[in-house]
Symmetry: C2
Subunit: 186 residues, 2 copies
């Protein structure tokens, strides 16, 4: 089985008008996606943010749950937050894998001309085999720009339901669902 990692991108990110922005760290993104990542066997959860004060915020949250009063109240949380790793850029994340060639980048994307989309059934089979670690990228804000999707090695089909045309999941929900589709027993 290949090792799976998650990453939450805060820059470069699209805003509502299609411009490129940096989004702020959200406390519950740290907690929820760390808990989901750990529950589906991910080895690390990267929070990618170019601003050092924002990276320090994540480290303070981790410290609070590792050593603070909350560590006693909910000891399980420490285990999830321990896999969270804060890095300034995608390039810095690649260093953890020995460089860009040491990891496969995956993301979900709406189907666009000229792009091959992988189904979740195909992706599950790929993860069961041997190969490089896989890092599943998730975007904050209005999602990741084309430049990041173009840099991915594989694009998975977007999450959808036959029961609704409305499709505006939070990134916390989208990450949980993606992990369940890749590694869940359902």
């Amino acid at each position: 089985m290949r090792s799976l990692h998650t990453a939450l991108v805060h820059y470069p990110i699209l805003d509502a008008q299609g411009g490129i922005v940096t989004t702020a760290i959200t406390n519950l993104d740290v907690h929820d996606i760390a808990r989901s990542s750990k529950s589906y066997g991910c080895e690390s959860y990267f929070l990618i943010h170019p601003v050092s004060a924002q990276r320090e915020l994540v480290e303070r949250i981790q410290g609070h749950w590792r050593e603070g009063a909350s560590a006693k109240r909910i000891p399980d949380r420490k285990t999830a937050l321990a896999i969270a790793r804060v890095v300034p850029s995608l390039e810095a994340m690649f260093d953890s894998f020995g460089g860009r060639s040491g990891v496969e980048l995956w993301a979900t994307s709406a189907r666009k001309e000229g792009m091959t989309i992988t189904t979740y059934a195909e992706a599950r089979t790929m993860l069961e085999g041997e190969g490089k670690p896989v890092c599943m990228l998730f975007g904050t804000g209005w999602g990741m720009p084309r430049s990041i999707l173009d840099a991915c090695d594989r694009l998975l089909e977007p999450i959808a339901s036959h029961a609704s045309d409305y499709n505006h999941l939070s990134v916390r929900a989208a990450a949980a669902i993606t992990l369940d589709r890749l590694f869940g027993d359902g």
Copy 2:
């Protein structure tokens, strides 16, 4: 296809020591579970809370996204929050279905002696057919007490992954995954 509804229970709820408590409304529970519910075609998302000041908080959040500055910034959010309904108790929720017999209550549960557990494959088939509306209950805090599980018409298997023994999903993640397993295209 049967109609699906979600409900988030804030009382009676278990605390870490197994006692019965009332939990506080969390802003992102309102948003995330409304967005997930709407994205999977649910007709309503009930927030069950016995304290009127907490119920008013949900109504203020809804108003802010229906009429406030945020309504212009993210118009899609209004559509999701419009299905949120705040009620003081399970009994008050039953009234929306013409009484207890007008709805089937479902929840997830770890397998316990003397209980029949439904798989997600079975549940999907049940939802495709004809029948009463189904309301999927989710618990805050440390989960719902046995008294609520005993009152359910059907218990689904707990969410699990073969990739991990750690299993501490947020309720926002658990709700998203459950809806995807019931109505997703994955």
